[in-house]
Symmetry: C2
Subunit: 190 residues, 2 copies
DNA sequence: ACCTCTATTGATTGATTGGTCAATCAATCA
DNA sequence: TGATTGATTGACCAATCAATCAATAGAGGT
């Protein structure tokens, strides 16, 4: 029962955060959505802060697993880049609820030591993956530079998607990133 | 006195929001930093929401004026693009306090109708400026596309800067954007 | 039947917050 | 001088929320 409740509470927290577009969600709301009392949420997670951070960790872990799965099937470096991009805009990541939650967590990282630390891990991993794939295509210094701008562009496109009310397909977003990568690689080789 | 207090309160709100990295600031904190009582803040702005939105409007207006001033001195279309980029990463905009406040407002736009509306105006204006400058350099369809990716890249670089603890010079950020613009323009012309 | 441990909750508390209001103070005006 | 007006505040209120706690229920073992 323990694991089931934790999962349910994290899922409920995710929905609630996304729906209200803010981290100002009460444990009563989250617990209510999960069909239990607020006291039980305190029982399983030490307090509100821990529940929120657990939810954040869940998002990061989910993204990470999608990324790893995509990378495993990529036959060559360029395909690895595409896998990273497509993973960032995958079906699970591109729901409005997920996007809203991400943006909210970004804001939280400004005030929470632990949240900032978690996000830094994610960013470092994304960057590391990008650099690793790029090193096989361009010289090391350019790989680092292109990885940086690509990561920033991913975040930027993601951010704009979060603010746009109407949902759209990830294809256009992916195309923007892919085009940027192609341009950068071609420019270095020319 | 009226105008002086309003300015002081908005400035205090900006500092407080940036320092705490959250919109969860109490009117007592803001008023305290401005050296007045919380009741006075309610006297000048109808309520907390209005004070926050006024602060947001202040940020947007300040950025807008910087942008207009930069654009006026630009001699040609390419210089206009540089002016937009440099305006986005200008001294006033690149303080950690300002950046944090921006990100926090972005998060607020998810839950506040008015905040979303204000941000949309800013984004539309930035996009319009970019497209207008780009139209003189590349065909219309490409101008729209490049403006979109450039705006996203600006937001992304901005976002990553907000999360990085240590402050850095805007020059590297500007270089990333400029490089992207150059690549896109050159690719269209080739 | 008895004990133990976990799951679960209703009730409560202590603290915080946004907002209100009557009262005070200072300046201006008739 | 006396009246009016705007600035300013301390005290207060109602609402909300995280957290705690005592109590109940049930499962499993002895």
């Amino acid at each position: 029962m323990s694991e089931y409740r934790r999962r349910a509470l994290i899922g409920a927290a995710l929905c609630e955060i996304a729906e209200r577009g803010s981290l100002d969600v009460t444990v009563a709301q989250i617990a209510g959505r999960a069909g239990v009392s607020a006291a039980l949420a305190h029982h399983y997670f030490g307090g509100k802060e821990d529940l929120i951070l657990a939810t954040m960790r869940h998002l990061l872990a989910e993204f990470s697993s999608v990324l790893v799965a995509g990378l495993r099937e990529a036959p060559d470096p360029r395909a690895r880049l595409t896998a990273i991009v497509r993973g960032s805009f995958g079906r699970e990541q591109f729901h409005h609820a997920t996007i809203s939650a991400w943006l909210t967590f970004y804001a939280k990282a400004l005030s929470s030591e632990v949240a900032a630390w978690l996000l830094e891990i994610y960013q470092r991993r994304l960057n590391s993956n990008l650099v690793h794939a790029l090193r096989a295509l361009v010289p090391g210094r350019d790989a680092v530079r292109i990885a940086e701008s690509t990561a920033a562009l991913i975040d930027g496109v993601y951010l704009r998607e979060a603010l746009r009310g109407v949902p759209s397909t990830p294809e256009s977003a992916i195309a923007v990133i892919e085009h940027h990568i192609d341009l950068e690689i071609r420019a270095v080789r020319a």
